[in-house]
Amino acid sequence: MPHEDTAPILSVRDLTVEFVTRRGTLRALDRISFDVARGEVLGVVGESGAGKSVTGSAIIGLIDPPGRIAGGEVRLAGERIDNLPPEAMRKVRGKRIGMIFQDPLTSLNPLYRISEQLIETIRVHTDLDAAQARARAIALLDEVGIPAPEKRIDSYPHEFSGGMRQRVVIALALCAEPEFIIADEPTTALDVSVQAQIIALIKSLCRERGTSVMLVTHDMGVIAETADRVAVMYAGRIAEIGPVRDVVKEPLHPYAKGLMGAIPSLEGETPRLVQIPGSMPRLSAIPQGCAFNPRCSQVYARCHVERPELIAVGSRKVACHLYDTRSKSGVAA
Amino acid sequence: MTVASTPPNPPGRLARIWDSDIAWSFRSSPVTVVATVLALLLVAAAVAAPLIAPYDPFDPASLDLSDGFSRPMVPNEITGKVFWLGSDSQGRDIFSAILYGSRVSLLVGAASVLFSLVIGVGLGLVAGYVGGRTEALIMRVADVQLSFPAILVALLVFGVARGLIPPAQQEQMTLLVLVVAIGLSNWAQYARTVRGSTLVEKNKVYVDAARLIGLRAWPVMLKHVLPNVAGPVLVIATINLALAVIEEATLSFLGVGMPPTQPSLGTLIRFGQQYLFSGEWWILLFPSLVLVLLALSINLFGDWLRDALNPKLR
């Protein structure tokens, strides 16, 4: 099953999402670009409102009006999908890109049995008949760790606990063996005790299948454990993207530094948690130049006028003028 | 307040109101603007009826039977008088009758809305604040009342009042009876809304805090509850005004409302219905049209108001 292809499974270029309101147009995503390699887990972190979830919705084509994709492109295995007609895009959803939402309580239709929802999804995307689809649904439930799946399959969502429901949601996302999965805060609504199980489950299932994952979360701990690479988002832009180990150990972008400083460490190396002063700007009040400039301790004149583009620094990319070798002030420590 | 004492607000008070979200949503809905203007015109005409009406339709001395059944805008064959909207069998001017009729309709409507508002808000506050059995009783009655159609409740109240009031006084009491009957059939919605809001406020810390420093909790809570419920109550009241006007018209149409000596729009329609088959269409059409326009314009305004105060419903 693993593809030998080295081309990225997902490629996002200059993706821009805007919401038109009567007070003007708000930019929820501002020219973001990144790739996800085959079999890779990309973590996406940032504060709420940074554009993490909007990125997921934009990729799968589920931005609700008044929002719209205002520019850029999204390619799945090299094929452009952001401008597909609705019916073609529907066939991509579920079949080639799966999605897992935050709250398993509200993700499932309370009035239908698990079996009905699973079989429906399987039959929409495959040629299996009802009996085959049911067998496949049972196998999927078994895979996601539902005990006695042949019995539980005919239960209603309310008859499952939160963690079990999220397993059902994962099974639903995997129905048609998609190549790419977007997990939007998959553990936020769960008890702390089951969060690790769910993350481990997603990771192992995707590894077995060679499926790529975009894991959206605000939990740096989850990212550090699970992801291969991480993208740090701020005010609708990517601040830094690179291998997890590097970004966590030695973040480059001042915002990422602040974010990593806020992770409590068991070893007690950092005696105090670092706090970033101020808060993320509202979409209607993003400053000119670098969006982080009002909160940055190393801000200088250029940050107020010119927006920093992503520039390669070693294994990663960072959007900060401090690392622009052409810049007069040079590289800061 | 004089102009000079106004604090120097850079945008100015009116400008700020003009620029507010609510004013914007009002301006951007032409239907609402038209409906509001129409409603205001109809209300103004009703209030100013004695000034506008060309005839006094209830002065028997001014009525001339030979003016009877004049067609709209056409001079009467015998007397040569012109009635804009025609005249009825007694030579009564329909236009004037409509003006006075909408006056009665709106008076009953507004008074009954006020009546149910006072009862509903009062009971809702008591239910939410006192709780326990009182609350259970009030809300139970409200449930039953809400599931019973208003018109039925109003008819029953009307019937009971008829049985209790001596026949000689019935005619002059009718207006009051109608207000009570319609008012009693519409209070439950206010009570529900206000109770919900009161329950929310009751559990907030400041109520406890007020009690701790020895203040009576009641007045403190009122100060917080009332502004919170003002919006929903206003919406309910607006929509209920249209309902009350229709309800009154229905009762009068059924013959248990305003008497012929003091007709409302419903009473006028009841008269007009007799001429449905004989061709004097204007006696029926014009009062009906005014009734529908009145109810529709108030409803449109209420509908907009509900959406404007509840953006999430859009």
Partner: protein, 327 residues
């Protein structure tokens, strides 16, 4: 589940008793029943006799108990005005009202749901907007004016349909039906449209707003993310979830059909219970008013019981009495 049904049954009984108390108070305290029955000229002895016979000297709670017992057996006393047993007056007129109300309810429900779903799915289409605008006009149109308008168009101008009455009826046992003759069916058309119209607009608006609400739910988004076709999402996932609250509210509203029948029956001179009631109110015929009140309350309790049962059938969360949670 059984507990749930028992509870709604109990609630129904409590409501019936409360309404019975109101009806009883009306009968006992609005006017003097003895004077009403015998007239002003009766002798003191006659009065005393009737007072004793009606048990009006007994303690009030005992009188109320007797009233409830009689009513439960269908005995509502004698009409002041017509001098006949109220129960036979009601039985005579019941078929006319029931046929009218049931047909109107079906008409309102089916059309209301269909239009509401359409208006929600095509929320920005011009037909949907037109339907919504018309519905607001519908809410502002008093029932009696709709009736008059229909009479003018179909009876006065076009002469297609009769303007009043039930037409020819056929007796089936004690029941008389207008459903088996052409003139009976023709006579039903306008009253049914008139009576159903207001409920139709209310149900339609309710369905639309509930459906729009449901379409914003997370599980709809998740269904979209799974690539379920939009049609299927609308009619399978959204519709059923929409109907649960709609049935609760609409069920109660349909009870209102009975009450609005009062107006429709007056406009079309329909020989039903509503017309009987309006007459009773005009002449303060208290036994008829009490009986009608009890009848309407009974219909309400019955509909809400039915609604509860449908609710249980539709919502699995209520069906599983013991929430067997997964371990």
């Amino acid at each position: 589940m059984l507990a749930y049904i028992l509870r709604s049954l109990m609630q129904g009984i409590v409501v019936m008793l409360a309404v019975a108390f109101i009806a009883f108070s009306m009968f006992r305290f609005v006017g003097d029943p003895v004077v009403n029955m015998l007239g002003q000229e009766a002798t003191l002895q006659d009065r005393a006799e009737l007072t004793e016979r009606l048990g009006l000297n007994d303690p009030v709670p005992l009188q109320f108990a007797r009233f409830v017992a009689d009513a439960a057996q269908g005995d509502f006393g004698i009409s002041y005005r017509q001098g006949r047993k109220v129960s036979s007056l009601i039985l005579e007129r019941l078929p006319a009202t029931v046929e009218l109300a049931v047909l109107s309810a079906i008409f309102a429900f089916v059309t209301g749901i269909a239009l509401g779903v359409y208006a929600a799915i095509r929320r920005d289409g011009w037909i949907a907007n037109l339907v919504m605008a018309l519905s607001l006009i519908g809410v502002s149109l008093p029932t009696f004016l709709i009736g008059i308008g229909l009479i003018y168009i179909f009876a006065v101008e076009l002469r297609w349909l009769p303007s009043f009455g039930r037409g020819d009826t056929v007796a089936v046992g004690w029941w008389t039906t207008g459903l088996l003759t052409t003139s009976g069916l023709k006579s039903l058309v306008m009253p049914v449209l008139t009576l159903g119209f207001l409920q139709l607009t209310l149900i339609m608006r309710l369905v639309r707003s509930e459906m729009l609400e449901v379409m914003r739910a997370d599980f709809i988004r998740f269904a979209r993310a799974r690539g379920i076709p939009e049609r299927r999402i609308e009619f399978r996932h959204a519709l059923r979830n929409t109907l649960i609250p709609v049935i609760t509210i609409a069920g109660v509203q349909l009870g209102g059909v009975i009450a609005f029948a009062i107006v429709t029956e007056t406009v079309f001179q329909w020989p039903g219970l509503g017309a009987l009631f309006v007459n009773a109110v005009q002449f303060v015929d208290v036994p008829v008013m009490s009986a009608y009140l009890l009848f309407v309350a009974f219909v309400f309790v019955l509909t809400s019981l039915l609604v509860d049962l449908v609710y249980v059938a539709l919502d699995p969360r209520l069906r599983s009495g013991n929430p067997a949670m997964a371990k």
